[in-house]
Assembly symmetry: C3
Homo-oligomer: 342 residues x 3
């Protein structure tokens, strides 16, 4: 990118203090941006950096009062974060992949249908009976098994694997190496101590605006015509495990390396932090927050709770107990002494 | 599928109460099955659903006494779970992939041998000197490095990667994205603070009837002619890590995201739950159970133990202590008061 | 391999006690090596095995005094571990893949440049504008997105995925299924409870001599011209998650299934054990050690600390408290009794 401060101020409807002709070539954080960068100041905590930043220009609040002189050029706007965010979006559209058409060799079964303006990368595989929407991007080494459906504007990144029958909604992203629809982990113990596979006959469904991180795995449901399901707008990070028959509600966020066991249902607007584990057959109420690495072993009925611990319970309770846990050797000594005195 | 209740009752040698001509098109759970579905009741806890189920028919125990009227058709058999399970198996066989032959382009080195009736998907890669058994399925984007062996009836799912020299037994499944045989994580610290790779010269061996989950990684052993090994009948879930030189015994089950460090040996008939971590160079006795998220730091000599905790020990002991842990702030206050009184 | 003891002793400048003409065909551990194997004894703890080993020959310290008779042949050297290690290296070079040239079909965009003596496997994909150094190996199903750079002697293993703009230094390994450069997990909550993607515009940089394990994921940085970065000589195990904007210092080791949240900086010469979680926006001092499964929630300022716990603190403190934790039910009972007495 290459713009003058003036051009950017025009886009943002902002007021310039400093050099309108200075050139902007990139975007950066105020604390480490250098010459050519445009940055922003939205949080008072970072105001100190305004007076030392190497950024060529900084977007600030229109009523900000300077406490020291600045060497950077200011662009004053009513909402600096929103203004900067719109520039990030603009930058992203500028650099976004414009790929379309087919790279050869790719494999698209003749019985499958593709919408308009799709990109099919080299070595991508699309099996029988698939329905691919408009402006879908299927990157190299992606595998789309038989009878899959992918909605408009969705992106299947390199090497993502969709087992047969997977359904992906519109405006979804499935990042590289994610695996949707592998067999659920269901094994019936036999009398001789061996295990027999319980057939896993369902599928995986992603509703619209769902994002799945790299190398995440979502197993298929057990019964025919049922699905392990991620509902509208939910975002799943990398290396997450969703077991068979799990249902994730709408607009729920699950951070990296969390794992949810079979047949558990997570509500809407939940936040599941990194490395959390949730046992099977539970229900989590809407707006539940589970702090990182917690182990959830019971259903959560009340909305809006925050849990922590192993097993998890009320986070304030856990942290109060943990503060005393650190004193346990001292407590033990004092108890012994008390007993001697009596 | 499409059968009448009568046809299914004939297969199961069951007795019909209700409508023999009702049509069955799918299988489902009694609590959420709908019209056209066949379900089963094996566990008394679910009997309430028998009176409200939307399923067209339900398989029940031959001597079940109804407590209320039912609107569904009953098929009475001696063992409802076994009967339903056999129908699931039958359904699975019906829908199972009948893929065979080669899809082009695939890469099979001329020095490798394939058994009868194999499926080699498009973009699958089979290196030099491989021996592939009969009725093996190798899906698209699977990588089979040089000198690998794969036994009869095994399935290598899309994008699974077998480094050179991996041996897979008969009736195994390696799910999508699993990586067998990457270098063990062995680094010798040097005097300048850098690390030098310790050569990892062994391989990975899966014995018969082993299943490996999606995106699981099993590193190769360190020494030539040795192997990181999963013994007969063991089942490994998704995103599990087995480090170099690990040995997993027979008919052991390891749930998702568990990790086992280098040179540890796990016995037969063990159950390792999700997100468990086990340190290196340990031995776990047969029939050991490790509860979810536990950290195992010592060998377990006695068979049949169940451990929990961080580090893990007797689960009953841990849970008793954890119950008191929740009261620690109160205990601390009471101890302070006691001291003041004396 | 096939050598006589004498040939090996010559290479190692060692002194033989036993049979110089005995044949060595493999290398192995002293406790389980068999006929034909060469082993070593570097650690006194293993000396017992010297008197029972099945190995044909054992490398020992030049001044070792035998406590019992041995049936194996000895090769005496000044540093047995270094001598054996050099043989492992030699063995590895012997068996190392000599692959070079292109296997077809592969996809290399005409605008990309390749150095001398590269290997490009079948179904490998190299996008536009890439710069690939000399003696680079890119295995089958590896994906190298547009404008990537890969330095001399680096290896991209089967199915590893490099999103556009990734930079890999010299002498690096990226193991199978690793994903470099997927979108960072940044979502801005909207007033209606949904999430809007925060554009992730940066890249991933691996400096020289970095190793990335199988199925590990490293997300791209948020800002343009910035990178999630692994510095020189650091080694990352399998299934590790490094979030956007993370920086890993030089010669740091991170074990399997650890996860580091966004914008955290880890110092040089750190050791992060398996399944550790580190929250975002922290700084870890050089030479920090984090024990397995710990959860780090605060920055670590002092060098050389070892932490453990959930949340993590001084490992000695944690283990002392945990020893008392196991006695909590007894402590609670004794406290109740004390209160009754007073």
């Amino acid at each position: 990118m290459k713009f003058t401060v003036e051009q950017i101020a025009d886009i943002l409807n902002g007021r310039i203090e400093g050099q309108p002709q200075a050139e902007i070539t990139t975007l950066g954080k105020i604390e480490d941006a250098g010459a050519g960068a445009l940055s922003f100041l939205a949080n008072d905590k970072y105001e100190q950096y305004l007076y030392t930043t190497g950024a060529t220009a900084v977007i600030v609040k229109d009523d900000l009062e300077l406490k020291k002189p600045v060497s950077t050029t200011l662009i004053r706007v009513s909402d600096p974060y929103a203004a900067f965010s719109s520039l990030l979006d603009y930058y992203q559209q500028m650099i976004a992949s414009q790929k379309s058409g087919r790279e050869e060799p790719c494999y698209v079964h003749e019985s499958s249908t593709l919408g308009e303006d799709c990109y099919i990368g080299a070595f991508a595989y699309i099996g029988q009976g698939c329905k691919i929407g408009n402006q879908v991007k299927i990157y190299p080494h992606a595998y789309v098994g038989d009878n899959c459906e992918i909605g408009d504007h969705s992106i299947i990144y390199p090497g993502a694997k969709l087992y047969a029958g997977t359904k992906v909604g519109r405006h979804c992203q499935v990042h590289a190496g994610a695996v949707l629809g592998a067999d659920g982990f269901g094994w019936a113990p036999q009398s001789d101590g061996s295990y027999k596979a319980i057939p896993q006959l369902g599928h995986v469904v992603l509703e619209d605006h769902v994002s799945i991180g790299a190398n995440t795995t979502i197993d298929c449901a057990t019964f025919p015509d049922t699905a392990t399901r991620v509902q509208e707008g939910s975002k799943i990070d990398n290396l997450v495990m969703l077991a068979h028959n799990v249902v994730i509600g709408k607009h729920t966020v699950i951070a990296a390396q969390a794992g949810i066991s079979g047949s558990t249902t997570v509500g809407d607007h939940c936040v599941i932090a990194g490395q959390v584990g949730i046992v099977g057959h539970l229900n989590l109420a809407n707006k539940t927050t589970i702090a990182a690495q917690s182990g959830v072993s019971k259903s959560i009925r009340k909305e809006g709770e925050t849990l922590f611990g192993y097993p998890a319970y009320d986070i304030k309770g856990y942290m109060s107990s943990y503060a005393v846990f650190k004193k346990l050797p001292e407590i033990y000594r004092r108890l012994n002494e008390l007993e001697k005195k009596i």
